[in-house]
């Protein structure tokens, strides 16, 4: 498949946002391309958990997928929401498709011999987070949006603020509690 131009991706995203489910079929391989590309970088070298390096690489991947800057200003907030939602959908489906069952989550692999289960652990955690996020949405929909935009959509604090039309300070407050709440949910012992 020929590489789609950024403008085409934007079109597809907006179409999907308008309810065209078929657009998803065209978007998923694009996201997968980026995933594979990132994965190759990880495999080539060390895999730090949360360093600047990772952040930089991921930001780059997001930029290739979603061209925030070129979207018309009035559409932008809407567009952010659609893109983040799409990423949530694709990435969680990706994890689910690997049959990673929901487990305790949150607990990093401890035993050396269990390191091979790392993929499984991470995948399961992603699935568990999606479930917890759905629970959070029932209590506090705005917090759910904040998490979607930042965690799945890769948006900065300011971009999130712009998308939700609230102040960055409020975004941070919402994020802090949502993060703590979700982490608590994920670290709870599985029933």
């Amino acid at each position: 498949m020929a590489r789609q131009s950024v403008a085409e991706i934007t079109e597809l995203l907006l179409a999907w946002g308008n309810g065209e489910e078929a657009a998803l079929e065209q978007l998923t391989p694009l996201v997968y391309d980026e995933l594979h590309r990132l994965a190759r970088v990880y495999m080539a070298g060390e895999r730090p958990n949360h360093t600047l390096e990772t952040t930089a690489l991921i930001n780059e991947a997001y930029l290739r997928l979603i061209d925030w800057k070129n979207v018309q200003w009035q559409n932008r907030a809407h567009f952010y929401g659609v893109a983040a939602n799409l990423m949530r959908r694709i990435l969680v489906d990706f994890a689910r498709s690997r049959h990673y069952a929901k487990r305790g989550g949150g607990v990093p692999p401890v035993d050396f011999s269990e390191a091979m289960n790392k993929a499984e652990e991470k995948g399961a955690e992603l699935v568990a987070l999606d479930d917890a996020l759905t629970s959070l949405e029932a209590i506090d929909p705005r917090k759910c949006r904040v998490v979607e935009l930042r965690f799945f959509g890769g948006l900065s604090l300011e971009e999130t603020a712009e998308a939700l039309k609230i102040s960055p300070r409020t975004v941070l407050r919402e994020w802090n509690l949502a993060r703590a709440w979700l982490h608590r949910e994920l670290s709870a012992e599985p029933v």
């Binding site: 980026e34 995933l35 594979h36 990132l38 994965a39 190759r40 970088v41 990880y42 495999m43 080539a44 070298g45 060390e46 895999r47 730090p48 958990n49 949360h50 360093t51 390096e53 990772t54 952040t55 930089a56 690489l57 991921i58 780059e60 991947a61 997001y62 990423m87 990435l91 990706f94 994890a95 690997r98 949150g106 401890v110 035993d111 050396f112 011999s113 390191a115 091979m116 790392k118 993929a119 991470k122 995948g123 955690e125 992603l126 987070l129 506090d140 998490v147 965690f151 799945f152 890769g154 407050r173 802090n176 509690l177 993060r179 703590a180 709440w181 979700l182 982490h183 608590r184 670290s187």
Partner: protein
């Protein structure tokens, strides 16, 4: 959840985050006003807010990692060269590690595949291979054994022994590690470093990820030499090289490629040349983290951590852990000195300090429990290598008759039950087994150097070596006047003891210089005729220090050592020099490069520790009745081996108790009379030094550095620094006060 409650939680959580952590509890107690559910909710949220979790990364990155992990696992089942990949057992900065089967040899190995980004430059790969080969020659129970280094289809790999256990990082994460266990881990890592440094290999990347603890508590240090691969990545590549773009830029960013700088020494983070002392510092960081449960240098970013390493001093351990011995605090601080000149200079010294501390703690614990459990006390901890814990001879319940008592003074006879095995015995034995080229036994007067030497030679003889012993004390002053007379005398002693057929004077040729004659004789007539390992013991070589050609002699010894290093076939490989000298003496050596003292294995012989005094007391039939008496006795004479033996002997032979002994000790005709008089006499020869000692006794002024070191190496005073100086034991203090003040 009720919306009102949720709203309250929002409000209080936010407010509590604004409080300093120490006041949050009080704030919540007041704000919740008895609403326990609310308080529980907010508190539990605050607790998790400190931890890292999935939301601190981004979804795309996590999914990509899942893919990467899967891809790595997909190597499982494949064959790479003669290795069949079984499972992925770990991954880290230096690549993925698999359990694999070496199908040629039918053994399981740990196969590490090196990331390609490190192996693209040939020069770097060569340097790495060279280092890895050197590391593969290391043979030590605490160093992972390297089986093979190679390349298959452009994929560089290292095959090592397969270790079943956990990395220190994994052990630290869920639980805190007990103090004694931490010590034993530290001891074993130090032992590994001692070995590596002796071979000229600096690890460069000592951190919890590179230390594995096997299920039987054996510690293995991984990845010796691997750091060579990543070296110099700190230097930015040409920024105009744009085609290579992002990756290169990212990977050359300082502080990132090297992973966390958390365990690096100040010299490492500032890009200076590193030596063994950098590893020593890193081990200090690991030890601190083991004991405190948190690293000594923290920061939110690499930059902050680097700044902490360079500028800040870690909080005292006692802040984070209970019952941290003061000695441990001292040891770790010394390892963490920013200026490497102020650290321990060699890991061996750190190792020794850790060992004796571990032993002391163990004894303390045993003694505390001894009342509860009757029966034999064993001192072997599972974490102490058997090789370094000398096995104990059968204990003697009492000394049956006076005939069993030996006179005290001079060497302890071989086979004597009054000989106490120390670390040094094991180290010496190991050095002889390894056939080290030179072994230096150093210690103050009367600590047992000659006894140690004699025992080592005896063991070497039993193991099939030929043994020569030269006691330099027995050389006449004529023999020490000219090199001609000296070398001839040495050669004659050797010829005599080894019963050689060709005598030195037969082949001595005056046209060759004396040292050449001697060397030739050794090579042709000794090493050339005797096929076995030869151990040459040289006792009291300090006599050479004051003689005019001393440094020339050491220069000759050193040249043999060098020749061994360069030529594996040289006959000098079969010669081990075991030299004993008193620490007092090295103050006289002017040119340290000339002396053999900067090469070879060093064995420092020190005082008995508490346990060893207690053990000797047992062997003498317990003239000291109980633990408090042993402690009192140790205060009186310190751990000075001669004084300890002498007093025990006196008590048993004269049938007196400790109190009576205490009343006799400083008397001229008492058991220590001669010993004390000798100290007084040597002090009298140096009025300046006498004055310094007087000053110390009166507590008036700290001594100058030189006097301090002289007094300390002579074994008269002890202390860490001139400010901390004090008489070595109560006996010395009392005696010197009586005679000098």
């Amino acid at each position: 959840m009720k919306p009102e409650l949720w709203e309250k939680i929002n409000e209080l959580y936010d407010a509590a985050l604004g409080c300093v952590p120490s006041q949050r509890g009080a704030f919540l107690a007041e704000a919740c006003a008895g609403n326990e559910e609310l308080r529980r909710e907010v508190e539990s949220l605050l607790v998790v807010s400190e931890r890292e979790g999935i939301l601190d990364s981004q979804a795309l990155g996590i999914a990509a990692q899942v893919l990467a992990d899967e891809a790595n696992q997909s190597l499982v089942g494949r064959k790479i060269g003669h290795f069949k990949i079984l499972t992925l057992i770990g991954s880290g900065g230096m690549g993925e590690v698999y359990e694999a089967l070496d199908v040629n040899l039918g053994r399981k190995v740990a196969l590490k595949l090196l990331p390609q980004r490190y192996t693209q430059e040939q020069e770097r790969v060569d340097r790495f291979k060279q280092e890895a080969r050197a590391a593969s020659a290391l043979n030590h129970p605490n160093i992972i054994t390297i089986f093979e280094i190679g390349e298959i289809d452009g994929l560089h790999f290292i095959a090592t022994e397969l270790i079943e256990g956990k990395t220190l990082r994994q052990l630290m994460a869920p639980d805190s590690i007990k103090l004694t266990a931490s010590l034993h881990i530290g001891i074993q890592v130090a032992a590994a470093l001692v070995e590596a440094h002796a071979a000229g290999i600096v690890h460069r990347d000592i951190k919890p990820e590179n230390i594995m603890v096997r299920h039987d508590d054996y510690v293995k240090v991984l990845d010796f030499g691997l750091a060579k691969l990543t070296e110099n990545y700190l230097v930015p590549e040409n920024p105009l090289d744009s085609e290579v773009s992002t990756h290169k830029k990212i990977y050359t960013d300082p502080g990132r490629i090297m992973g966390t700088p958390r365990y690096m020494s100040p010299e490492q983070v500032t890009g200076k040349q590193m030596d063994g002392r950098a590893d020593l510092f890193s081990l200090g960081v690991v030890l601190y983290e083991l004991v405190a449960g948190r690293p000594p240098f923290e920061g939110k970013s690499s930059g902050e951590i680097v700044a902490a390493i360079l500028n800040s001093y870690p909080p005292p351990l006692a802040r984070y852990a209970r019952n941290v011995p003061h000695e441990l605090e001292r040891i770790i601080s010394k390892a963490l000195e920013k200026d490497r000149e102020h650290r321990y200079q060699v890991v061996k010294d750190l190792w020794l300090d850790l060992k004796s501390l571990a032993l002391e703690l163990e004894i303390e614990a045993k003694l505390n429990h001894a009342g509860e459990r009757s029966g034999e006390i064993t001192l072997t901890s599972p974490l102490v290598q058997s090789a370094t814990a000398p096995s104990r001879p059968p204990s003697f319940s009492s000394v049956d008759s006076q005939e069993q008592l030996e006179p005290v003074g001079g060497a302890v006879p071989i086979g004597s039950k009054f000989y106490i095995l120390r670390m040094a015995d094991e180290n010496f034995r190991a050095a002889l087994v390894r056939r080290d080229s030179s072994v230096l036994i150093k210690g103050a007067r009367q600590v047992g150097k000659t006894s140690l030497l004699a025992r080592g030679l005896q063991q070497a003889r039993e193991a099939g070596a030929q043994v020569v012993l030269t006691d330099f004390q027995k050389l006449s002053s004529e023999q020490l006047t000219t090199t001609e007379a000296f070398y001839l005398a040495l050669a004659e002693i050797i010829a005599d003891q080894l019963d050689l057929s060709v005598l030195p004077e037969e082949v001595w040729n005056s046209r060759r210089g004396p040292s050449l004659n001697f060397e030739r004789y050794l090579r042709r007539e000794v090493l050339g005729k005797i096929p076995s390992h030869i151990v040459w013991g040289l006792d009291e070589i300090d006599r050479l220090f004051t003689c005019s050609f001393g440094s020339e002699v050491f220069g000759l010894f050193r040249s043999w050592h060098n020749e061994r290093a360069l030529d594996p076939q040289t006959p000098w490989q079969r010669l081990t020099l075991a030299m004993a000298y008193a620490t007092e003496a090295h103050l006289f050596i002017t040119d340290m490069n000339q002396s053999p003292f900067n090469v070879g294995t060093r064995i420092a012989l020190g005082d008995f520790n508490f346990e060893q005094v207690a053990e000797l007391n047992t062997r003498y039939g317990n003239p000291l009745k109980d633990k408090p008496e042993v402690a009192r006795y140790v205060r009186l004479v310190g751990g000075h081996p001669f004084l300890v033996r002498c007093g025990l002997h006196e008590m048993v032979s004269q049938k007196i108790d400790l109190t009576t002994l205490e009343s006799l000790v400083v008397q001229e005709e008492g058991p220590y009379g001669d010993h004390l008089r000798r100290i007084l006499l040597s002090l009298a020869q140096d009025p300046t030094l006498s004055a310094v000692v007087r000053g110390i006794l009166q507590g008036s002024a700290p001594p100058d550095a030189e006097s301090f070191y002289r007094l300390r190496s002579a074994g008269v005073m002890m202390g860490e620094s001139p400010r901390d100086v004090r008489p070595r034991c109560q006996l010395y203090a009392t005696y010197l006060e009586q005679h000098l003040l």
